[in-house]
Point group: D2
Chain length 261, copies 4
C-alpha cells in the first residue's frame, strides 16, 4: 500500500490539517474527521488547554483529538525568532509527555507570515540536535530545503503561497526542484485555497499537503474537508498513474517547444 | 442528493468517459469501471460492431457497456460537416433502437479537431428538430453557447483545450461566462490532462467533465481513472462548499485589486 | 523596412488606437499622437460630427485626425446584427467619400461585448462582396478566423480578452493557431490592459495590436500611449529577433517536457 | 527626469546587461550598445584580461566597455561560498583601482545556479562592512530581501527565475512584496527570456532589470537588445502611467473578486 513515512511514523492519509479558525469545537471535530487526516497540527501558543489547568478542565481541542486516532503535530505558530521557537518546542515536549514530533515555523513578519529562513535554519539545527523529529515550514528555496534536509529534518514543508492566502502554488519550478532532490517527504504547507490546489501539489510529486484556512474558512467547512480528502487522493493517484504528455493537438508529434510562451 | 440531470435522464456521476485509445478491451473495461462513469461516449464511425455483423460477433465495446449499467452516448467524431453529423446521428438512432441521446461534434479540421461552429449550429438545429436530445461539443464562445441552448440542446460541452491535448482549461473567463448564463448542464469536453484539470472545471461550476485521452493514455489508465473519479468529486464538493476568498495575506483586509498583474 | 500591409495600404506603426473614453479632445489628440498610431478607429454611431451638421461645426474628433496623417478606420461598435453592421458601414462609406476600409464588429450582447460570430460571418460576406476592405473583430476561434480570411477579409482581429477588460491574452494557443495559419495580418483587438500585454501579442507573431481603454483609462493616458508605442516595437523586435528557448536551468539540456505542469 | 540612483551613482537607463555567451567581441559590443545599458556586469573570474597580462594585451571585454561610457559592475559568478565571493570582490577592487560597486552572487549549486541565501547574507555583511556598495543577487524571499537592505546593500536583485532559464517571473507576489517594502532599488536579475518579461518586471514597480542570456542567446542578439531597450522603457512608463483596472467586462462594476480562480 501507498503509505507516507515521516520520521519513525507511518500514515495512510496524505492530508494534514490544522485546528484554527473554526466556528466552534464541533465544527472543527466534524471537519477534521471528514478530512480523513491522521496528523493534526496545533499551535502550542494558542492552545490554552495545554498550559492552563483551568482551560484544560473545559471541553477543548485535545478532547476532539484522541491520541489513538490522531498524531498531534505541535507547531510554533506565533514565533518570530529561533530562540522562541526552540523554547516553544521544548515546552510542547514537556506538556505532551515526551512527544518529539514538531512542526517548526519561525515567521519573518506578522503581515506576510513568511518564514524567516535565517532563524529557521538556526532553530532547526538546535531542535534536531536536541532529539526532535522536525517537520519544517520553509520558503520554496531549493537550496534552503536541501540544507534543512542535510541537518536532519524529517520533512520539508515549503509554502505554496502565503499562509492564509488561498493563492495556490506560486512557483511550481521551485517546488518540483525541492521534490526531485529530497530524500525525505516534501509536504506543501500554506497557500492552498481549494481542492485543485491540493491536487496540483500532489501531482507534482509532493508527499502530502497541510492546510487549515482553506477548510476552516470555506463557506461549508465540513464539505470542503471531504473535497480536500478526495483532492489529495486524486492528485496522488494521478501522480502515480503518470499523466499523458501535454501537446498542442491530439496528433502525436505536435510540438510544445519553440512556442513564444 | 446531488444529481446530474441531462434531458430526461438523471445520473449520480459527473464524470463522462470515452472508449478510444485503450490497449485492449479489458483495459477499457477496467478503466471505465474504475472511473465510476455512468455515461460512456463512443464514436459511431469507429465502432464496427454497430454496423458490421461480422464485427458484432466478436467480443467488442458493446459487450463491456451493458445497457443496464451505462448510458451510451453516441458521438459524431470524424464528421466535418453538418450533413455528415446529422446522417451519423440518424444512423446511430437506427442501430440503437431509437436511442435519441447523442453528442454532436462537427470538426473544423483534422489537425486541431477544433469545432466548426457554423456547421455545428446548423447540425444542432436539425437534430433538435428531429427529436434528438443533443449534447453539443462547442468552442468556449459564450454567445454560441447561448444560441445552442436557445435551440434546445440539452447540454453545452465547451472545450477546455484542443481534443487530445491535455492542456487543461485555457480560457477560464469564457467557461465561467457560459456556466453563469446556462440553464442546461455545462460539461467541459476535451483538453483535460490530469486530475487537477477536472477539479478546476468542477470548481468553476461546471456540471460535469468528459474525457478520454487523459485516462486512456496515462501510463496507468486504471489508476488514472480512479484519480479522475476522485478529482470530479473533489471539484464538485469544493464548488458546493464555497471556497475561501483569495487574498495576499491571511489578514482579512489584504487587497487583491490594484495589483499590476 | 518592416512595414504592415493591410489590404491596399501600408503602414510603419503596428499600434492601432481608438478614440473613446478620453477626458476631452485635447487629451485624445495628445495620446493618439504619442502612440505613434497611423490607423485610428472611430465608432460611426458615436461620432455625431459625421452625421450631424451642427456637431460638425464644433471642434470634433475629425479635426484631430487629419487625413494626411491618419488612416481612419470606421467601426461598427454598437451593432448587434449583421444587418445593422452592414448598413452602418455603407453609411460610413457615404459620409467619408468612398472610404472603403472598415472594422466590422457585430456584438453578441451588451454585457460582454463578445462578438456574435454567426452574424459576423454573414456581415463579413456581404461587405466583402460589396467592395469593402474588411478588418474583422472575431472571437479567437481558429476555424472562424480561417473562414473569414477565405471570404476575403483583409485582416483578422481576434480578441485577447473581453472589450474593455484589460485582462490580456486569455488563450495563447488559439491566437498562435490563428497566426500560424493566416495569410493576412492578424491584429489582437480588445483585452489589452498594459504594455506587456501588447508585447506578448507581438511576440506571438501578431502583426499589430488595436487598443483603446488601456490608453484612455490609464491614470496618465499620454504616458501610457508612449508606453504602448514602445511595447509594440519591443514585442515586434523580440519576435523578429527570435527568443532564447525556455529551459529549467542554464544547462543546455535541461528538459521542459515531462513536467507535471 | 526619471533617473535611477544606485548607491552614489545615477543612471538614465534601467536596463543592465551582462557580457557572456556572445559569439564574439563585436557582437557583444553591438548588442550592449543597442541595449542602451549604462551598467554592464562582468564576471571577475571569467575575465582573463583583468588578471592575466598576456590576455590584457589582446583586444578584450574591457576594450569595448570604456569607463567614460559604462559603469562596470564586477560580479562574483562562479562563487559558491561567502569566503570565495568576498575574496573575489576584494580582488576586483584591487584590479579596478578602488572601484567599489559590486554585484554579489553566492550560488547554491551548479545545476540551478540558485543563490545560497545563508552564504549570501554572510558575504553581504562582510562586503558592506568593508566599504563596498553591494548590489545583491537574491532569491525572491521578502524576508531575506529586507535583511539585505537592513545590512546596507544598495540594491536588491531578486531572481525572476533560474539564471539562464528564460522562464520569466515565477512568483509575482514575492517580487511585488519586495518592491513595496524596499527603500533601495529593486532590480530583477535572472530569468528574463523575452521582451514582455522585462516589461512585466518594470510594470510591477521594479527599478530595473539585469539580463544576459535573453539577449546573447536570441537568434539575433542585437535586435533583441533593441527590443529589451524598448521593453524596459515601455514597462517603466506603464508603471508610471498607472494601468487601467482589470475587470471582467467593460462595464464599470464587473467584479473580479469572488471568482473561483
Amino acid at each position: 500500500p501507498d503509505t507516507l513515512t515521516i520520521g519513525t511514523r507511518r500514515f495512510q492519509s496524505r492530508l494534514l490539517v490544522g485546528t484554527g479558525k473554526y466556528a466552534d469545537l464541533d465544527q472543527a471535530d466534524a471537519a477534521i474527521t471528514a478530512s480523513g487526516a491522521e496528523i493534526v497540527t496545533l499551535a502550542i501558543r494558542r492552545t490554552p488547554a495545554l498550559t492552563d489547568p483551568e482551560a484544560a478542565k473545559k471541553r477543548n481541542l485535545l478532547d476532539i483529538l484522541p491520541a489513538d486516532k490522531y498524531t498531534l503535530l505541535p507547531n510554533t505558530a506565533g514565533c518570530y525568532s529561533a530562540k522562541d521557537a526552540v523554547r516553544t518546542c521544548r515546552m510542547a515536549r514537556e506538556l505532551l509527555d515526551g512527544h518529539n514530533l514538531v512542526k517548526l515555523e519561525v515567521l519573518g513578519d506578522e503581515k506576510t507570515l513568511y518564514p524567516d529562513m535565517a532563524e529557521t535554519l538556526i532553530a532547526a539545527k538546535q531542535l534536531v540536535d536536541d532529539g526532535f523529529e522536525v517537520m519544517v515550514y520553509t520558503s520554496d528555496d531549493p537550496i534552503a530545503a536541501r540544507r534543512l534536509e542535510d541537518m536532519g529534518c524529517v520533512a520539508i514543508m515549503p509554502l505554496a503561497g502565503p499562509i492564509g492566502s488561498g493563492l495556490g502554488i506560486q512557483n511550481r519550478y521551485n517546488v518540483i526542484e525541492i521534490v526531485e532532490n529530497a530524500n525525505v517527504p516534501v509536504l506543501v504547507d500554506a497557500g492552498v485555497g481549494t481542492a485543485s490546489d491540493a491536487s496540483i501539489a500532489m501531482e507534482m510529486g509532493c508527499d502530502g499537503v497541510l492546510m487549515n484556512t482553506a477548510i476552516a474558512q470555506a463557506q461549508k467547512p465540513i464539505l470542503m474537508a471531504q473535497a480536500m480528502r478526495h483532492a489529495v487522493i486524486a492528485g496522488r493517484q494521478a501522480f502515480l498513474a503518470g499523466r499523458m504528455p501535454r501537446r498542442r493537438y491530439a496528433s502525436a508529434s505536435s510540438p510544445m517547444t519553440g512556442l513564444p510562451f
